[in-house]
Symmetry: C2
């Protein structure tokens, strides 16, 4: 072979990249297969040899974006580390995910698809939700360790999460607001932790 990959693999990759760009820019309905093929510099027939339909192509794009945003490690609860620092780290990590371009693309595409056809993106949204377990586990551990007030763990996790997402996710996803700078992220996380600990710290 004359290149690093077989031709067919390069073509497939070009199609996927083009499809991501087009779906992202125009959504599912307004994206035409012809335009994707043109952008990928691939014949329409080749595209259809790789993907049996527009729906299948869309599903594959969701899978690709999903995988590329799936590299997050958990921050475990540590008995001996200070609460504030641990929570800060947790929130900063969460915001890193929320501000990740792949994740944002995924969320936007999924939400756009969802608003119009619930069934299409339902499982994707379920997976999105399940990915956010981190906070719950940490809070539960801290409660058991006696360093956070016992009580409704889900509610506490939801509150913490809302505080972050309300400024660092929803406006960006739904209204195209600019992403927060690292400095802004730190300020937001710090304020959220202060608020949270004022009420939940033992």
């Amino acid at each position: 072979m004359t290149s690093t990959q077989r031709l067919t693999d390069r073509k497939r990759e070009a199609i996927i990249q083009a499809a991501i760009a087009e779906f992202r820019a125009n959504g599912f309905v307004a994206t035409s297969v012809d335009k994707v093929a043109a952008r990928a510099e691939v014949s329409k027939r080749t595209l259809y040899n790789h993907f049996p339909s527009k729906d299948e192509l869309f599903a594959e794009i969701l899978r690709v974006l999903w995988r590329s945003s799936s590299s997050q490690e958990e921050v475990p609860y540590r008995t001996n580390a200070p609460m504030r620092a641990q929570l800060l780290e947790l929130l900063m990590q969460k915001m890193a995910l929320l501000a990740d371009d792949s994740f944002l693309d995924l969320a936007r595409v999924a939400i756009a698809a969802f608003i119009h056809s619930p069934e299409r993106a339902q499982d994707m949204i379920n997976r999105l939700g399940q990915k956010e377990g981190g906070l719950y586990g940490w809070i539960r551990a801290a409660q058991k360790d006696g360093r956070l007030k016992p009580g409704d763990t889900s509610l506490a996790a939801q509150q913490l999460e809302s505080l972050v997402k309300g400024a660092a996710f929803w406006p960006q996803v739904t209204m195209g607001q600019p992403k927060l700078s690292t400095r802004e992220q730190r300020k937001l996380a710090s304020a959220a932790v202060d608020l949270f600990l004022s009420h939940y710290a033992v």
Copy 2:
């Protein structure tokens, strides 16, 4: 006339109602004028006699939804009333708006339109945002009155708002989650106010 309204008024109303339903269900691109006309039990030509184009019809729908969700009065800050009760009332009022069907429809349609074509819904989104001024004014007044810690008013307002919207607006708008019951609303508002006052009360 044989009825409460002139025929032409009834037809116009039927078109608007059908258009709301269709745009809401399918979004702008996937909604066909033929289907709107059929749903309204109106000939296509009649529709075009009332509205010169699909874009104009869409714009009118946004205006109608906007007006029908525009009936909110302000809750003013009162020096002599207890903080907790006042905040609760404020948040419950906010949630009433967020859970209003017209407002939800408007937000969904605007967001869907936005994700695909920023310019189309930009001004609508601006107006949506401006409608949420209430919290800021109240907090600022309470700060000046010495009953809330002075500090970053916008941040405090944003936090309070995030706490509410994170559970009572974004999941409903973007993911079709069911609306909160009044009981759930009260619990959410109560928890948000507790958290808020733990940190901000003097």
